[in-house]
Amino acid sequence: MPDPQHTPGPPPRWWRAMLGDIQFWIPLAVLVGGLLLLRWVA
């Protein structure tokens, strides 16, 4: 049974740092582009 008093803590520091890191979003954007290209090619 989950504790009703329990509130989830803040996300770890590295998670927040990553989401604020432009270098995280560049590979993600390229990945989405690649999936779209694959859809066209296939």
Binding site: A17, I26, G34, L35, V41
Partner: protein, 429 residues
Amino acid sequence: MGGVGAATPIAPLRLKQLQAVGIFSGFAAGAWLGAAEAPTKVVTLGISPVTISLVMVLGVFLARWSLPALIRGTANLGLDVRRAPHLVVWALIAGCLWAVANTLTIFAIRDIGLSIAFPLWNTNSLLGILWGALLFNELRGAGRVRRLGVVGGAIVMFGGAVLLALASPTQAPGGDAVRGIAAALGAGALWGTMYIPYRKAYLTGMNPLSFVTFFTIGELAMMAGLAFAYLGGPAGTWTELGRARDVLFWLLLGGFVWVVGDLFQQYAAKYVGIGRGIPLSNTNQLWGLLWGILVFGELAGSSHGVYAQVVGGSIVMALGAAAIALSTAPGAEHLRWQDAARREAARYGVDLDYVAARLSGLDPDARRGRTARDWLIVAAATAVFVLFLAGAQAPQLEIDYAWAVGLTLAMLGLLGGCGVALWRVTRFG
């Protein structure tokens, strides 16, 4: 955590050793990555490109868990993750990028042929240089001559690639050339960007053998998703795998060989950066050509002009690679790398001393030796390969076995030589 003072220059002799082993790794990567493309030749036998990519990724998965377990032991994985947990996410993204890129390359091979597709996706090196300079201080402080050596070398390599592409109308297998070229260039963009996570991991101190074990989970998950989407769900995928059962072993083997090359590529990315490491490992195109021409008779019946273009393009590529190999990073540039590493450490809260030690090729807290779990992983992976070998049939292709043996011996020589060098200098750190 260490202080945030000025970076300490690495000893010149140590830097020289690390650069040399990184350059050597880049060339060894080229040989093994080039050979790994050879099994994809079976795509011409009517097997779906997605099936080929999926099976190769299964081989990659087996190798990415078994080889690190054999070389370093999995006990160190937990240590690396506790130090830099964010790198697990980066490794998963890189694995997804690899899987999509690899699938695109197989469509490219189907449409425009291996010899032409190779140089097109190897334009990833130009992108790698751009990301390396923009994001990780590569080539900063290198001096004009070295910068020219790297950028000029990569452009010369690209010129060689264009020469090879000019031969395309006479040897394309008859597929849709526009889609084939788009697929190959797209794969280059994905692979070029995949090196952002690589470099980030190594600047932050993760061991290449740890990085690849997480990388492969993203790779396998993405590839399974693609297979289900394009092959009609799990049932369709299973049917396709059944149709390809005679050649499953060769594709698994292709994935395994690729991982050996990729491990060397990881060490090259770590010790000479992505701006130099990617172009050097892109000498895989020359090895791919050797396999294509000598073993599979890919250009048989072509005119002398086509051969001249291919040989000329290959020589130009080799000259570009030589220029890069001679333009190693000097101490001033390495200091700028350390600046980038310290920025990463500060952003993600990683211990600075740990980052500095790992960037110098040291692995002070590593646990030596293998556990029973490691041997179990190695045994299970070996068993899978043996199982598929038992059901394998030789692909119905014209193969020159004498050249295949000769090229394999050359690859094994590079494996032994570079493996020993890496062990002596970094203990696979």
